[in-house]
Structure formats: C-alpha cells, structure tokens
C-alpha cells in the first residue's frame, strides 16, 4: 500500500514529504495507521548528523495510532486496537526483561532501523528506507515488530497519547523508576523542554519539596513553573550551580536530572548535588560527548553517584498504561 512519509535522505537537508510504498507485515509484525507523532529533539540529532544513522530514514519515535493489520503469530494486539509506539522493543524473555529491565532488552543488539529479520518494509522508487527505532512515526502508516507497540485504552485521545511514547516516558520515568524520588526531596532539573517539563511534573506528583528548574530560555522557565517548579534559575544570567546550592539550603540538591545532553549541563547537574546526592542523566548527547570526572564532580568521591536513564528506566508498558489512565480519568472528570 501507499503511505505518506517524511524521508531524510541527507543530513542537514530538509525532510522530503512524499508517497512511499509500505510492504505487508510479516510474521510477528503489526501494521499501524498513525494518528499523531510528537516532534522530538532526538529526531533532530539525526537530521543534523549529531547522531549518525543509516540513510535514507523515516524518523519519528513518539507515535500513537490504530492497528490495521497483523502478521502471522501476533498475539498481543489485533486490528482496531489503539497503541503507543515503544522505541525500545521488549521481548519479555531475555535476561534483561525477566530481571525487570525491559528497556535494556536483548533485542537492542539487533539493528534498530530494520524489522527484527534485518529488512525494511518501506520502499521509495525501489530503494529501501530505514525505520527509525523501528517506529517511523513520520508516516501515515508503518509496520513495526509486535514488541514495538503497546496497547492502550481507547478513551485517551491519540494526539495526546503519543507524547507518552517518548517525552513523558523519558522525562517522568527517571523520577518514578531510576531515582525513586521520595516526598519532600529536593530536585533540580537542567533543561525544561518537552522532556524536562515531564521530569518537573513527575517530581511534583511524588511530592518533592523544592523543585528547581534550570534553563537559559525565560519562556521555558515560565512553563516549568506552570508544571510545578518552585524555583526558576536562568543559567544565562547566573551560575546555576551556585544558585541551586543556595536555594537547596544544604549545599546541593538530593537529586539532579540532566535533560539536555551537553557536557556542560552534565557537569553542572553533577556539581549541583550535595554529598551523597544522585544525578540522573536523561538528555540524549551528540556522538562524542564526554562526561568528565573532575575533582569538582567526581564519581569516586562519594559525592554524587551518576546514573543514566533511557526510556525512563521504565517498564514502558506499565508507564504507558498508567499515564493513559491518569489522563483518561482527568479528561472524564473535566468533561
């Protein structure tokens, strides 16, 4: 069948929106009609070449839609089901999955731009197109491995549900799952864009005490306050580390979340925690970014254990279901 898709043929060139051919789903694959896809900076990293990737590719990894067709052997979804995309597939059977770390699933060792058999389902003028993170959300329709879709309830609008697939999962998940922020804890969030705002509202939901938003963009700091930040620090005007230390009242925060991906902000987040505090790096970094260990922000001085979080260190299925439910109940209350 035909799908309309945005294709990246060359880095630093505009995406080409065109009709492409979509092949039938093979065994254990699912064809989805996407309803919506959120625009995420990780796509931009590929477009600029910061994140090297085979081309041509259909980007988009924050999608929600409706299952249209399933290949042989698909058991978890059926036509008509509403689904979120999962940009990390989870097989449910490997060591990682059964030990409670589905975002580390062994399927990640396969090329993440093809179906699990190592081939593409998209063609343009006879040329195979890569599926970004096995999702390809910038297309009207796509084929995905069964393990890359998560069924959700049908009373959540799909143009909101798509946000859970990446921004919410990546931003809120670290608070719930990686850091397990307890009520009353102090939190700093470096970077208040589409992911960081979720970190802030998750911190609010768990009852964090001080929630300190750090950004260089005044508008984003205003949004941060709307989502629950108790303090805003404009890093373009003052030293954010010194300011976070001062606001915390105890030489640093309990938890710092880095949601930008630059060496500078990773260093700042590390340095903003107190002795024994925890820094979680969420931001996606351009290839080659280093995370240095200096006396000021050492991993070994017992000052600040640094953790990494990808896809919110979540069981994506659980978090997608939970947040869909929270949203559905909120919408029904307000309607």
């Amino acid at each position: 069948m035909q799908a309309n898709a945005a294709v990246l043929y060359e880095v630093r060139k505009p995406l080409v929106v065109e009709d492409v051919e979509l092949l039938e789903p093979e065994a254990h694959e699912v064809q989805v009609r996407w309803a919506a896809n959120g625009v995420c900076h990780s796509d931009l990293h590929v477009m600029t070449g910061d994140y090297p990737h085979p081309l041509p590719v259909i980007l988009g990894h924050e999608a929600a839609g409706v299952v249209e067709k399933v290949g042989a052997g698909v058991e978890t979804v059926k036509p008509g089901d509403h689904v979120c995309s999962s940009y990390i597939p989870s097989c449910g059977r490997c060591w990682y999955c059964i030990s409670g770390q589905p975002t580390m699933c062994a399927l990640r060792d396969k090329p993440r731009w093809f179906m699990l058999d190592g081939t593409s389902r998209f063609r343009s003028k006879g040329q195979a197109l890569h599926h970004f993170l096995q999702v390809a959300g910038y297309a009207t329709h796509a084929v995905l491995p069964e393990q890359s879709v998560i069924p959700i309830r049908k009373d959540v609008p799909l143009d909101l549900a798509c946000l859970v697939s990446c921004g919410v999962l990546a931003g809120a998940g670290p608070v719930f799952n990686r850091a397990k922020v307890p009520p009353g804890a102090s939190v700093a969030v470096f970077g208040c864009g589409g992911v960081g705002l979720n970190t802030i509202q998750a911190a609010r939901m768990v009852g964090a005490g001080k929630i300190i938003a750090v950004d260089i963009n005044r508008q984003k700091l205003t949004w941060a306050e709307e989502f629950g930040a108790t303090h805003a620090v404009d890093a373009s005007k003052e030293d954010p580390v010194a300011r976070v230390h001062a606001i915390s009242g105890m030489g640093g925060v309990d938890f710092a979340f880095e949601v930008v991906g630059t060496q500078k902000t990773i260093e700042q987040a590390l340095a903003s925690t107190h002795r024994g505090g925890t820094c979680v790096v969420v931001g996606v970094s351009p290839a080659g970014t280093r995370c240095p260990s200096t006396p000021a922000c050492s991993f070994s001085s017992a000052s600040s254990p640094a953790r990494h979080s990808e896809a919110g260190t979540s069981a994506p299925t659980c978090l997608c279901s939970s947040i869909s439910s929270w949203t559905a109940s909120t919408s029904s209350r307000s309607s």
Partner: protein, 40 residues
C-alpha cells in the same frame, strides 16, 4: 500522587506532516514545549 498528569498542556502546536520541517524550526527557536504532527 494527585493523579493529574498534564498531557494536553504539553502541546504547543498541532501541525500536518507537510509542516514537519517548520516544526523543527520552531523547536530550534525554543518556541514550543511539544509540537505534534497530526494525521488525517
């Protein structure tokens, strides 16, 4: 937890796929929380 996750408040713009390049320009300018591409 208060059970109210703000999802719709995250969306600044809704755009068709044909405006995707523009959506990335808006991101680079720091003018959006999230843009969402919405299909027919």
């Amino acid at each position: 937890m208060d059970g109210k996750y703000q999802l719709k408040e995250l969306v600044t713009r809704r755009l068709p796929l044909s405006d995707l390049n523009h959506a990335f320009d808006l991101m680079k300018q720091g003018e959006v929380k999230r843009s969402v591409i919405v299909y027919e």
